[in-house]
């Protein structure tokens, strides 16, 4: 995998910032490099995600945030031209170790996508329970689980009377919350969210943010967002990604959210979070 890719003479600057404590980590990437075909899109990303924290990933479009979180639960490898180097440590084990089954990784590291993608051939209820069926898990009280997951995603009141309608009959924002409920139903240890609120109205957005804060009592969340206020409202830690010219993207600064937004170390972080940036 690595040998087929030419070495690119790009050395990513070291990630700055107050950093994140490195004990009690659930998830961490170590010197992660990512390619699409011959093109390196991420260089030397090492980030830590402590247990029960919320980390926001921010940065301009195209800098590789989506690509990065897709490497965290082995969704990246589904793209035929994809390649990578480095490690992703989840609960003390490298998920790219050849002995690890990607299916187990994805079961415990859930994901919510940028575009809502409910299963159109299933009802709302079946959508919520789909994770259990797909992974052959069992649950004794399905109705309770459906209600709990939908309430956490802030959708229960809107759909409780039509759980047997298809997922496609919901509005875009409702579909997205259905997808969140679907991810929560399998009770993952980590939830990766790629701009989960970009299709939501302000009310649903606040509801989802509330959900994220509640989840962080027992779950680790990584969320990509373009909304600076949102990052400040939900995230314990924030990482700022950047891409310059034609170089790969990399993590410029990583630290507690107050530091990144209050007194960032890097000038470019300061420019970006204050909206003085392209």
């Amino acid at each position: 995998m690595i040998t087929t890719v030419e070495a690119v003479p790009f050395v990513a600057p070291k990630t700055q910032g107050a950093g994140v404590p490195d004990q009690d980590l659930v998830l961490a990437s170590k010197n992660l490099y990512v390619w699409f075909g011959p093109r390196m899109v991420l260089a030397d990303v090492s980030l830590n995600f402590p247990k029960n924290s919320v980390t926001a990933l921010i940065g301009p479009s195209g800098c590789g945030k989506s690509t990065y979180i897709r490497t965290l639960n082995r969704m990246h490898e589904l793209i035929p031209s994809a390649a990578l180097a480095g490690q992703v440590i989840f609960e003390d084990k490298d998920i790219y170790d050849p002995t690890v089954n990607p299916v187990d990784v994805r079961l415990r590291i859930g994901m919510v996508f940028q575009k809502p993608n409910p299963f159109p051939a299933m009802t709302i209820k079946e959508n919520v329970l789909s994770g259990l069926k797909l992974a052959k898990l069992s649950n004794s009280n399905q109705n309770e689980l459906v209600e709990k997951s939908l309430s956490q995603a802030g959708l229960w009141n809107e759909v409780k009377d039509r759980l047997d309608n298809t997922g496609g009959s919901l509005s875009g924002g409702q579909q997205q919350r259905l997808c969140i409920a679907r991810s929560l139903a399998v009770d993952p240890h980590v939830l990766l969210m790629d701009e989960p609120c970009s299709a939501l109205d302000p009310g649903s957005t606040l509801r989802v943010e509330q959900t994220i804060r509640e989840l962080s009592e027992f779950m680790t969340v990584v969320i990509v967002t373009h909304n600076m206020q949102q990052a400040q409202r939900v995230a314990t830690y924030t990482a700022f990604f950047l891409l310059e010219d034609n170089n790969p993207g990399y993590a410029v600064e990583h630290g507690p959210t107050q530091h990144i937004f209050g007194n960032p170390i890097d000038q470019r972080t300061s420019d970006y979070v204050n909206g003085r940036f392209g």
């Binding site: 299916v103 994805r106 415990r108 859930g110 051939a121 789909s130 298809t166 496609g168 991810s183």
Partner: protein, 355 residues
């Protein structure tokens, strides 16, 4: 602000986009009646032969469409008018061909179509026997059994092939695709001869229904596989990602997400496969041989099928046998319609809120 609010009335529901201005209607009426009137007059006077005046009508009507379109909407209307007129003629052409086929099958086929015709078999019936006796019950059963077996074999294999090509994306994908493509070019008589040469001539099997079903399978498989492949490609990549991210294995993604999402398309694939073979005669001649007796055992003895019955019937120089052949064609047509409607109804999603 609006009057409706001042008078405190709710306006009634309207569809302004459906209204046509009187001017539009006038233009369409004039443009579509003038050429017809003109040609009809010429034909009546007898200056031109019917064929020539018919051709003149097509040309004039397209020209009239062009003029009307130009008057109505300028240059963009020109293309519109020409296209509408041409499509109208194309539609009329296909409609005429189709309805004349159906009409001749109906008129000639109704004569021999009695209740007994559908349930009796053809034993003791000679080509000259009067119409009140004998029937094609044996051939209906034969066709149902043979097509049924062919469907049972080719649909799973066809869908599995499509899954291999689109979902598994295995190494020999290109090879398999090429083979399927090549198979769809096999002439139907060759399919029958192939089964004959490999299984019957070599003495492994006798003439029987299963051999016919296998010959049909050779024809059905590529149709089912290629249609299913197209249908599976239409399933959005997002859904596969979503299922994988929930911790599903590849196999589960296919069986629980991809196939159910493409369900109605897969039914179409099956129907197209059946439509491909149900009227085929050539694959049956060397495989089921044909029979006048009722035989519902596909692995024992010659069998009858409707297409083969029609083929043998219309070749006879006797009126009763020809009438029976036409009735058989009518029964086949009816069978296909009933079956297709049934499959559609059963596969349509009757849940609420379907997009």
């Amino acid at each position: 602000m609006s009057t409706a609010l001042i008078e405190n009335q709710t306006p009634s529901a309207q569809r302004p986009w459906r209204k046509k201005s009187r001017n539009d209607v006038l233009i369409v009426v004039v443009a579509s009646t003038l050429p017809a009137l003109f040609c009809f007059t010429i034909y009546q006077i007898g200056i031109l032969s019917p064929v020539i005046s018919g051709m003149l009508f097509v040309i004039l009507q397209i020209a009239a469409g062009a003029i009307a379109g130009t008057i109505h909407r300028g240059r963009r209307g020109l293309a519109d008018g020409v296209l509408i007129a041409s499509i109208g003629f194309a539609l009329a052409f296909i409609g005429t061909v189709m309805s004349s086929v159906i009409w001749s099958v109906l008129t000639k086929g109704l004569e021999a179509l009695k209740w007994q015709f559908i349930i009796q078999n053809n034993e003791y019936i000679t080509p000259t026997s009067p119409l009140g006796y004998g029937g094609i019950g044996h051939a209906v059963l034969g066709t149902l059994i043979i097509v049924g077996i062919a469907t049972i074999i080719s649909v799973p294999i066809g869908i599995a092939t499509a899954v291999y090509i689109t979902e598994v994306r295995g190494r020999s994908r290109v090879l398999v695709q090429g083979l399927v493509q090549a198979m769809s070019g096999v002439p139907s008589v060759v399919a029958g001869l192939f089964i004959f040469a490999t299984l019957i001539f070599t003495g492994v099997f006798e003439f029987n229904g299963l051999m016919g079903a296998l010959a049909y399978t050779i024809l059905m498989l590529p149709t089912v596989a290629r249609t299913a492949e197209e249908v599976l490609r239409l399933v959005p990549e997002d859904l596969r990602s979503a299922a994988l991210a929930l911790g599903a294995s590849r196999a589960r993604v296919v069986s629980m997400v991809v196939l159910p999402t493409a369900k109605s398309g897969l039914v179409t694939a099956m129907l197209l496969g059946i439509a491909r073979v149900v009227g085929e005669t050539a694959p049956l001649v060397f495989t089921i041989f044909g029979s006048a007796k009722t035989n519902i055992n596909p692995v024992e003895g010659p069998m009858a099928a409707i297409p083969l019955y029609i083929f043998n019937g219309v070749r006879q120089p006797f009126a009763p046998e020809q009438a029976r052949a036409y009735s058989a064609a009518l029964v086949l047509l009816f069978l296909v319609i009933v079956f297709f409607t049934l499959a559609r109804v059963l596969s349509s999603d009757r849940r609420k809120g379907k997009k």
